[in-house]
């Protein structure tokens, strides 16, 4: 996001010179630019491009983890194929589509909650109060704990027999019997959302806080002089101004949430009801050794995430453009 913004700005004057014929200076500049970005492009091709290409290639084969060098090209059979009048393949697999739905649902709900909570936390941390520095450091603790560790920790806290959460709720008289947070399919996905919100709200708050600190103070003074209600100030002044940063933060989090694996895997294992796309792909690749089918799932994950991000970015930019006018 940030990088693409910079390129757009840099390329605008360059285009003007092209229109008027390339000077030798421009040409040598372009050459220098290519030389400078070449290492990045090569590294990217090696660490991102090659595995991606290999995965997409495997998705058209019947490769098996047991003997990875011995496979045949089978075309689209991993995606969709007709065996004796019965349609099979990933695109007809209800488990796969359930995992897609779980992931999208999880992303939408958790990122929305995190955006709202993150903004509130950032607003609080932006106000000056004693101990603000310490508070800012403390709030980052959940973000600093490795996901597997925090997931395991929550797993014990949420345990129906010896979990501290059920114990607290029972003592407060809020529930009559312990809730089986991770075992009951109705609460399991909500539990995952809750733990994710706990963990990543600090990240969201930090990005929004950075945006808040860039805001000019004079607008607020003007609003104060005019006697505008603080809530109105937030919706009319603060929110539009931090919106670009908020959208960047939401896209970062959404990218992260769409490939969620560790949290769901530790909290509910391979259960179908809560399986995310990544858990599904891993199960095919590793547990079932179906490298072909698993690669097909991975390829679809790549396409789905790309599509969703393009949609989010397009939606974000359109609204931004409308407001600056």
């Amino acid at each position: 996001m940030i990088m693409s913004g910079a390129t757009i700005q840099a390329s605008a004057p360059a285009r003007e010179t092209v229109r008027g014929g390339r000077s030798s200076l421009t040409r040598s500049r372009i050459r220098a630019a290519w030389i400078f970005i070449a290492p990045t492009l090569i590294v990217l091709a090696l660490i991102a491009g090659w595995p991606l290409a290999r995965t997409i290639w495997f998705s058209f084969t019947d490769a098996n983890l047991n003997s990875l060098n011995d496979y045949e090209f089978i075309g689209l059979e991993n995606y969709i194929a007709n065996y004796d009048g019965e349609w099979l393949g990933l695109l007809t697999d209800t488990d796969w589509w359930r995992s897609v739905w779980n992931t999208v649902w999880f992303t939408a709900i958790s990122v929305s909650i995190e955006a709202v909570l993150g903004t509130i936390v950032a607003l609080i941390l932006n106000a000056s109060f004693p101990g603000r520095g310490i508070m800012r450091a403390v709030i980052l603790i959940p973000w600093a704990i490795p996901t597997v560790v925090s997931a395991k920790m929550w797993n014990w806290m949420l345990h129906d027999q010896f979990g501290v959460i059920n114990d607290m709720l029972l003592r407060l008289g809020l529930i009559a019997a312990p809730i089986t947070w991770t075992a009951n399919p109705d609460t399991a996905l909500w539990t995952v959302v809750m733990v994710d919100v706990w963990k990543t709200t600090p990240f969201m708050a930090l990005l929004i806080l950075a945006a808040l600190q860039m805001l000019p103070g004079d607008i607020y003074e003007a609003a104060k002089v005019d006697g505008v209600h603080p809530v109105r100030v937030f919706f009319r002044v603060t929110l539009p101004l931090i919106k670009p940063a908020l959208i960047v933060a939401v896209i970062f989090r959404a990218l992260d949430a769409l490939r969620v694996f560790d949290l769901i895997y530790v909290l509910t294992a391979n259960s179908r009801d809560t399986m995310s796309m990544s858990v599904f792909a891993r199960q095919q690749l590793v547990d079932f050794q179906e490298v072909g089918l698993g690669s097909a799932a991975s390829t679809l994950i790549f396409l789905i995430i790309a599509l969703l991000i393009v949609i989010t970015m397009a939606a974000g930019r359109v609204r931004l453009g409308g407001e600056t006018r």
Partner: protein, 421 residues
């Protein structure tokens, strides 16, 4: 200064010369409970005897994770681990990467429990050596059965009734979180073993029979699942749907359950010095499905196999033969209550002294139900996953038993398509 260098060179020289004759073998031992400690003592004894060194590689506690790790290592042809501790259902899955032990083990393997030997063979070849045996058991609270004057349950309906009675009684006395029966209900391999016990105890078959036919859709299996689904929320906490072995043991060992289904390892821990239920526990075969049903515990246990990619295969095979031999199996049985796979040790006086219930176990192992791993081979994991997911849906009341088994039957036939291999 020069003296220091000289002595360092000398020391380095000694170290290299020692490693020329002896080799280092890596073994993956599980670290559940006392397993690591006992394994370490065993391999150290071999190392001392032969002059080699042995490195123990720790592996994840969850069996599913361990298999995934092995598969990744072996698929890459890595020789980092020479000796693998594998589960009885993995022989078929991993066979392509294992050394054929037929010529080394053929002469001794007949002394092991036949059911265990069966799990070590793939297409007639011996791919692993049996190390210890496991089977599902019923743990019960002796003191509570006495208190409520009930016998050890022989059928599942006995168990349901007794569990309900004890649970009601204990709760009336103020133990609000007391439950009748806990087991492993998480959607994982453990649920396959547990549910197979229910179905087999009703004579409902073993999901896929020896000939490879899918047999899971039958009225007995429906009845078995119906009974089990009825426990959840009544005598079994709903949380059991996410329990593995250790969570179930946690509830039982805290004194909060009357019955538990678990593997033999829980015995030593329940009888440990810090256990709240020490000397109040008994074990029995799992109940029968009905008067004409059978006691069925799923066969578990571990084998030792040698990697095809091992650089020191001879030494590795020697280690496997030592660890699965008479002397070491006896030591493990006495010190760690691991159940030997050597038939002769079931009559051994020292083993009987350490494990008073070893005689009962011999019967349990003789009648144990094997999971359909050999016949489904490479596809076992898929079969098991479909099965435990179907059972999990029944237990969480998201599907009716008949409907779930019908769908399972279709899915398994689809996996089988043109054959299991």
């Amino acid at each position: 200064m020069s003296r220091v260098i000289a002595s360092l060179t000398l020391a380095a020289g000694l170290l290299t010369s020692a490693s020329v004759s002896a080799v280092e073998i890596s073994i993956s031992c599980s670290a559940l409970g006392k397993e690591y400690e006992i394994c370490k003592q065993g391999v150290d004894a071999w190392a001392q005897k032969t002059g080699n060194t042995v490195k123990i590689v720790s592996t994840p506690n969850s069996a599913t994770e361990r298999l995934a790790l092995y598969q990744q290592l072996l698929a890459a042809g890595a020789g980092d681990i020479d000796v693998f501790q594998i589960d009885v259902v993995w022989t078929g899955i991993l066979a392509d990467h294992l050394q054929d032990l037929t010529s080394n083990g053929q002469s001794v393997v007949s002394q092991h429990l036949p059911a265990m030997v069966e799990t070590s063979r793939v297409n007639g070849k011996l791919m692993a050596m049996p190390w210890f045996a496991d089977a599902g058991l019923l743990y019960y609270r002796k003191d509570l059965l006495d208190k409520y004057k009930r016998p050890v349950p022989q059928t599942w309906s006995d168990l349901t009734e007794t569990a309900r009675m004890i649970q009601e009684g204990e709760r009336k006395e103020g133990k609000g979180d007391f439950w009748g029966y806990v087991w492993q209900g998480r959607a994982y391999e453990g649920l396959t073993t547990v549910a197979l016990e229910w179905i087999a105890s009703y004579n409902g078959g073993t999901i896929v029979d020896e000939k490879g036919e899918v047999t899971v859709e039958n009225p007995k299996a429906v009845e078995a699942l119906k009974t089990a689904a009825g426990w959840v929320g009544t005598i079994t906490p709903e949380g059991v749907l996410n329990y593995t072995e250790e969570e179930a043991r946690g509830v039982f060992q805290a004194g909060n359950a009357a019955f538990m289904r678990n593997w033999p390892y829980a015995w030593a821990l329940a009888q440990g010095a810090d256990s709240t239920i020490k000397d109040k526990v008994g074990i029995a075969p799992l109940p029968k499905g009905g008067a004409d049903g059978r006691h069925a515990g799923t066969l578990g246990g571990q084998l030792l196999a040698v990697s095809k990619y091992s650089k020191n295969a001879d030494a590795a095979i020697d280690l496997v033969m030592y660890l699965t031999g008479q002397e070491e199996q006896k030591r493990r049985a006495v010190q760690g209550s691991f159940n030997p796979t050597l038939v002769s040790l079931y009559g051994d006086a020292d083993v009987a002294k350490a494990n008073p219930f070893i005689g009962d176990l011999a019967d349990v192992f003789a009648n144990a139900v094997a999971r359909p791993a050999t016949v489904t081979g490479q596809n076992y994991n898929k079969v098991s996953t479909e099965f435990f997911n179907a059972v999990h849906q029944v237990l969480s009341k998201r599907a009716e038993p008949a409907q779930a088994l019908n769908r399972l039957d279709r899915d398994l036939k689809r996996i089988k398509r043109s054959g299991w291999q």
